[in-house]
Amino acid sequence: MSGGERAAIAEEYREAAIERIVCAQELYSSGRLVEANYFAGVAVECILRAYRIRIDAEFDARHNIGDLYRMGRFADIVPPANADEINAALGEVIALWSNGHRYLPEYALKRDWKKRKLYRHRGLWIKGDFFKELTRKLMNSSETIVNMGIIQWKPLFKN
């Protein structure tokens, strides 16, 4: 694959990241939490893939956010002042999101998170609706990562 082709695909991934995160925000606003959850993670995957393909078109990270983060050298684009915030956001997405969640109805996703005891923080129960709260955290984290990827984006080739 030529550099030009890689640049074009990278741009597509970047634009897809923007579209998916906007979609996730709309779904969250309308109370469709499972779908918001899924699209938020896909948006992160898209922006990490955009950075990865700029380096090498050959990769098999499947849907593993941690592998894509490393292979795309995403850490290199993050200003030191933002490192804690971005690393925390990535950790949040890795802990909460799975591509397999697209197959789950709401009750099954809740069951999955309960099984993993994600409803607790420092041994205490999350107050209120834990499912909504964790989805909000996933949304915020995804927005943080996608925003950083967009802000720091530099086209591979100038027109």
Binding site: Y69, D76, N87, G91, S98
Partner: protein
């Protein structure tokens, strides 16, 4: 670089007992990957990162810290979940 990685791991093991690592060196000899520790369980991600940052700042020189691109702070359960993705 190998010496620095060994030093870093030794220091982290003292601060985060029984932790493990999944670190790799990328462009410009910069490290990225996971610090995996059971003690992070139930702790907010941002708190984990601030704890790690403060520790690195207190124990490494500016030059040494430049060799760290990013270390994500995860529990063993979170890493196991991510590997299923």
């Amino acid at each position: 670089m190998e010496t620095f990685v060994q030093k870093l791991k030794r220091m982290l093991r003292r601060e985060f007992p029984k932790c493990s690592f999944d670190l790799e060196t990328g462009r410009g000899d910069r490290l990225s990957g996971y610090l995996i520790w059971k003690g992070f369980s139930g702790v907010e991600q941002i708190e984990r990162q601030r704890t790690l940052s403060a520790f690195l700042k207190a124990n490494l020189s500016d030059d040494e810290r430049r060799h760290i691109a990013g270390i994500l702070t995860m529990t063993p359960e979170e890493v196991a979940f991510a590997k299923q993705a």
